[in-house]
Symmetry: C3
Subunit: 353 residues, 3 copies
């Protein structure tokens, strides 16, 4: 987990805009967990629950918040330790591009365009008319269909499948096994069962999108399925035909998005959320894990549940539900007491008459 | 998105049994969305919400329902516009079979049978004793295990895996990354943990089935897992061992079907539905998205929810739940008032004595 | 479904510690379902519901429990018929290792270590520094990244992807399409959207683990994602970065486990369960299908639902919910009756004064 000659703590403090309590000249060569770090590693103290592990860590330095004291090695005090970790990881793991060029075992159609700075791995297949941009990395066993376009600096991990005609922007990352552009699920009733509606549209993936392993993004029936710029999609996610997702939206693992749904920008979908066909989800909406929505969701809404509700209301109902069986019994007793009182009232009314 | 020399509007009207209000001699060469259509495209007006987009579309003709008027180009009035769209897509996109033959880079076992009219793509692997029928299309990087059978006119998209012994019927479509015939999840308790139960059955996929990208259909422990004729399965669906699905059933994305479950014909499962092991679902049952069933479901039932209920009842309960916290408070007040009345009744009874 | 010369029923009775009512010299050569078995097959009678099918089966012998009588062929009476089935399947289907050696079409980096007893299939890719142990079976089209390690007797089915640095133990089985070691879903907010947190940890899969088709197990941000010894994972399961799963845990299909979650030993997760980020699940806990947990679960708990509850309580609430709409109406009537009584009480109090 180390890279090159390492960095002095003084240099790290400067880059991270962090405080440093000792040994600016000490050199660290890697980042590691508290448990596995050695004297040449910097380790990350995520929060106070990890202080005990930090006290017995052999790390050569700690990334932590400025309030922390008393650790057994120099401390880099950072206002935002998570961001500092991201920066340190990037420092110690600079991107390494495989050598440019096409592996001799790859199958490249005669009329495909592969930029000379791109790298095409072993046993990859690039079909007729496809276009692979500058510095693109195509890993072994990837399939790129006819006329597909892959923008500069994108990375396709092993075994990705890009169906014919799909267009990927710049700096797109697609993890192993993802399938971009398979047919949408479109059928109409016919006398002999279900008749397939041909799916002749495409998928457009804009710049800076990341797509997780084994996720599937269907081509449009007509037109385009669109994944907006900067949106991040986790593993095993399903995106239906003609879906449009806005910019910088986060889609956690195993989410399913039905055909023609529209998601805004900066939406956050928790794991296993389901979005119905044609549903619109407004900018900035947050849906908790396993929520299911069949109706439109307004901008900024924070919902949970199948047939979801606002999170606070759902919590109140969930707590109230625990009292429901007792409530039924209580009401029965109330009705009996009421009946006794009514009988008494009738009797005493009779007595008064 | 065009095919060949195109069609006159008059010819389209004839084929679609549609009305046409003008220009029967005009030629269109493709189908496109309202937004992207040009003067040689026919565009589709799905419903009244799209009329505004249609009025500013540059399309050369419109597919629409007969009531619509006033669009800026000739209108093909169809009783069922969705069906007409399916027909027009098929007209403009006739199937194109890749050239018959086996790519030189494919690995075909010496005793595999490949029909001379089949097409086997680059880097595909066909194992010993497998059989590939007439006009089958096997895309690059597909794996077909020993003794597997693929029926005529079937299409296996890139990277499909067919395990040994699986049998696919005619006109079956399997999308990229789907895995047919992996081991079922079968274990028995043993002193040292879980002991694997060997899975020696097969998967049988009948005619006209379509299976989505990255879906998984497990082989039977013994005997057969069966996907009935004409059934359509979306992406990322799991079908457990020894499941039997009837004819013309629709299974949306991310559904999971437990081992030995039995689904009837014409069942509809919404996205992310879960069916428990050994559960039976009757013909024509409809389960809404995210439903989970652990007990048998009768024919024609329309259910929703985990531990599902009839849709109408579930809706009533969902609405009632919102009043639950208030209900608890109301009952508390009722009990207090009741106590006060009872105290009064005791007092006045005392007074009367 | 037969293997070799078969076994006499007497020998089977001995191996299975079963009773046998007739024909110890009869030879059976395979295992089959009741419906498909012929005179040389032994068939399995799972429970009393299958007795009718057994009575008309053509099987040469039956595996059943000792109480069963009156079947049309010799009966092997086993105290635990499911276990006996597992043993008989193993007897009739002994493991067959493909011939050792590397297929000429595989791509093996010069400095990868492949044990001479391992088998590497057609078009597999093994990257620099990877290590393949004794008797490992690597199927066609598998990708093994740089420095990955595969322990002895493991099996990687076609098209598995192992990212760089992952470590698999001994006797691990990974089914087709599974992806081990893709990046975790880690981003931090940045001025221009979401900034990727590099994922530089690894995945460690311990001995005797089985991983289902198209499942995805993410590498750690730092350190290790760990799948404990003997744990079995079904198809289409997502395991997030830095997750640790204990020994002998069962994870059914389509489960999603969020980042940094900790699962104990002998946990059972039903299909489509969701576990939130950082959640701890104690040893032996059982979560029913589709449960979702955002908070820690104690050892041995048996829960169900999103925001789950103990199964018995959930069942009581579910039953009570059906009365909820009626409950609201009842309470309204109670309030009216109470008001009438109160009015009466005030009047009669007035009358007494």
């Amino acid at each position: 987990m180390s890279a090159g000659a390492g960095f002095t703590l003084g240099r790290l403090a400067e880059v991270l805009d962090a405080t440093l309590d000792a040994h600016p000249e000490r050199v660290v060569t890697g980042v590691a967990t508290l448990a596995s770090a050695g004297p040449t590693d910097v380790a990350f103290v995520a929060d106070r629950r990890h202080l005990e592990a930090a006290r017995v860590s052999r790390a050569g330095a700690f990334l932590t918040s400025p309030e922390v004291t008393g650790l057994p090695a120099p401390m880099l005090g950072c206002r935002d330790p998570r961001r500092a970790l991201a920066e340190v990881l990037a420092l110690f793991h600079p991107p390494t591009l495989p050598a440019a060029g096409v592996d001799a075992s790859a199958h490249i159609a005669a009329d495909a365009r592969v930029d000379p700075t791109a790298s095409i791995g072993a046993l990859a297949v690039v079909e007729s008319g496809a276009s692979i941009g500058p510095r693109v990395r195509v890993d072994p066993l990837v399939y790129i269909g006819a006329r597909a376009e892959i923008g500069e600096d994108s990375v396709l991990f092993p075994r990705v499948v890009i169906y014919a005609g799909s267009r990927l922007g710049r700096r797109v990352i697609v993890h192993a096994g993802a399938v971009i552009g398979a047919d949408g699920f479109g059928f109409i009733p016919a006398s002999h069962g279900h008749q397939k509606v041909l799916q002749v549209g495409i998928v457009v993936v804009e710049d800076d999108v990341e797509i997780g392993a084994n996720s599937t993004i269907d081509r449009a029936t007509l037109g385009e399925t669109v994944i907006g710029r900067g949106t991040k999609i986790d593993n095993l996610v399903q995106v239906g035909h003609n879906v449009e997702i806005g910019e910088h939206t986060l889609v956690a693992a195993q989410v399913g998005i039905g055909g023609s749904a529209r998601l805004g920008a900066n939406v956050v979908l928790g794991g296993q959320v389901g979005i119905g066909d044609h549903v619109k989800v407004g900018d900035g909406a947050v849906l908790a894990g396993q929520s299911g929505v069949a109706q439109d969701v307004g901008p900024g809404a924070r919902l949970t549940g199948t047939w979801p509700r606002p999170v606070a209301q759902a919590m109140r109902i969930w707590l109230a539900e625990e009292k429901l069986p007792e409530l039924i019994r209580s009401l029965k007793r109330v009705e009996e007491r009421l009946q006794a009182l009514e009988a008494l009232a009738i009797k005493s009314a009779g007595a008064r008459q």
